[in-house]
């Protein structure tokens, strides 16, 4: 294996991690602040991808699509919070899982109803569509580099929002003691709607960004949702910083595992078998990582209420 391949795979891992962070940030905020398990988060990711593809096809501009996907996911998130989610805060987690799973099914069929059954077309903007040459002569897709930069910028912005603004203060207070901040005169219902819409917007943003290099199709959110849950468990539920570090960790471990395991195994067995076994082991790797983290730190790496 060459140094160039190793570096390229590290960048790929970073890019996957950044994308997972956008999903996990919303999920962990919603769980941390409201104690709600939201399975429909993957559907908001899908809606982001579909809205971006539809608006980009209609207007010819990817950027307009990106803005529209943010707005649509946030609006849909707020609507869902007001109509459905609000009634679930006092219920136990099983009820929440059932209700939000029902939302997943409704969103999937709703998207089919609006956009049809066939995958939609969405391409990155022209100036990001090819490869760029990184220092050292390594060609790398410009769009993936843009995702890394955009994701890290969102992470920084979210960090500032939580630690420096009034809204962030209320969110942190809501995580520690929701009755107390209600008693202090903060409109907790409004705060919940805002947090939910923020998480939804991040998921929609991720869906739109990823839609340009993947298939915009029904059910595209569910595989990402599972990884995002792994991320927030590893990172510590409710912690943005934990979500960022865990997302990058999962991204890099997953990518490097897929590369290295078949290579290592081919030293001890036939190449064809090594490919099959290595691939199977690689797909387990992040779950093994999660199990290992839980053994040593049962509340995750950076528990929010430590």
């Amino acid at each position: 294996m060459t140094v160039a391949l190793f570096l390229e795979q590290m960048l790929n891992g970073l890019q996957l991690g950044v994308m997972l962070f956008l999903m996990a940030a919303g999920l962990t905020l919603i769980f941390g602040v409201m104690g709600l398990i939201n399975l429909a988060h993957g559907s908001l990711f899908m809606v982001g991808g579909f809205v971006c593809a539809a608006v980009a096809a209609w207007s010819g501009s990817f950027w307009l699509g990106l803005i529209a996907s943010l707005a649509a996911a946030a609006a849909l998130g707020a609507l869902v919070e007001i109509v459905v989610i609000r009634r679930l805060y006092d219920r136990d987690h099983l009820d929440q899982v059932l209700a939000t799973f029902a939302l997943v099914l409704m969103f999937s069929e709703g998207v089919r109803f609006v956009f049809g059954s066939f995958p939609l077309y969405l391409d990155p903007p022209a100036f990001l569509s090819g490869p760029v040459t990184l220092p050292g002569g390594l060609p790398y897709p410009a769009y993936r580099l843009a995702i890394i930069i955009a994701g890290l910028a969102v992470a920084a912005g979210l960090g500032l929002l939580i630690s420096r603004t009034r809204l962030g203060m209320q969110i942190r207070a809501g995580e520690s003691d929701r009755e107390m901040i209600a008693a202090l005169g903060v409109d907790i219902r409004f705060l919940y709607t805002v947090v939910f819409a923020l998480g939804a917007a991040l998921a929609g943003f991720a869906g739109a960004l990823v839609g340009a290099i993947q298939s915009v199709q029904i059910g595209m959110g569910e595989p990402v949702l599972i990884l995002a849950f792994v991320v927030i468990v590893i990172g510590g539920i409710g912690s943005i910083r934990g979500a960022l570090i865990a997302a990058l960790l999962v991204g890099v471990v997953d990518t490097m595992g897929r590369l290295l395991l078949p290579m290592l195994l081919s030293n001890v067995m036939h190449a064809s078998n090594a490919a099959g076994v290595g691939s199977a082991l690689a797909s387990m790797l992040i779950y093994l990582l999660m199990a290992a983290v839980l053994v040593f730190k049962p509340k995750g790496l950076f528990p929010a209420n430590a």
């Binding site: 059954s117 990155p124 490869p131 060609p139 993936r144 290099i213 993947q214 298939s215 199709q217 990518t255």
Partner: protein, 380 residues
Amino acid sequence: MKKLILGLTTAVSVVACVAAASAEPVKVGMITTLSGGGASLGIDSRDGFLLAIKQSGNKDVEVIVEDDAQKPDLAVQLADKLIQSDKVDVLTGIVWSNLAMAVVPSAVAQGKFYLSTNAAPSQLAGAGCNPNYFSVSYQNDNLHEAAGEYANAAGMKKVFIMAPNYPAGKDSLSGFKRFYKGEVANEIYTQLGQTDYAAEIAEIRASGADGVFFFLPGGMGISFMKQYAGAGVEVPLIGPAFSFDQNILQAVGDAALGVKNTSTWSKDLDNEANKGFVAAYQAEYNRLPSIYAAQGYDTGNLLLSAMASASVTDADAFRKALEAADFKSVRDKFSFGPNHHPIQDIYVREVIKEGDIYTNKLVDTALTDRADAYVADCKM
């Protein structure tokens, strides 16, 4: 008034029965995927099949369509319902091999006919073949074998091969290697449903291969081809038609242009049946047909041809009529081998753009009169 209408309808149906006395009505149960990520395949299979029935004007065929949502357990329930409560004579429509394996063996054991519009796993072609099971599509390995043969013809010496880590993926790579004579640069199994191929693309770039064979059906192929184009790797791609059907290409866009793929059918195959089919499909559904639609259409016509010469109540005669395959296939050649799988030519197509539409054009024939690798194991 009501009585009059009733009387009239009875009279009409009596007349109709007399007129069609030779043809026994046939009830068809179609189990296919109409919801979820794989829905576009099932919708095309259904639409192609129903178009054939509609064109024939044959009123003796009743089709009950059910959605399996790509779930094997649901497909089994639907098959039980269709057989036991709807009393169908023929089952068809399943897109995915794992669903076919769950449904077909028990359906044919109960004496029903099964005509496959798509899935044709090796288990049902070899030792597990059955007199009542017919694959109208291909045997699963066929398109991969043709890709291997095409790689030889195109002078590829070192090919990077890749498929998802599930039974059809393994069959795909072994099918490719059965015909490909050069060196395998690397063999990779991806996760089923994987959406990001950055790691694999980096390996392709580093491998020094002069060709890439990939089998990534549905959304996986869309993701891979877009990312491959974005990475600027110049190594030519080949694959089976599953990643290049009419509906998928529109979502891939320019990234697919020029890619070679192997198929049993192409919309520009020059025969009367195919020209008529493509025009009628466009008129009926306002979109171009895919390979799934073509296979569905052939399945419909095969059934109609058998009904014209035998009654479904006489299973032996009906089976003989199916074996004769006396219908005008949209593929140039079509006949059944001894294991009830097709003997046909397998073509190479290239992705092109016609106006605003991405589609395929024929460029070559990879395999002529190809049966399959399992026919010798079939004893029936």
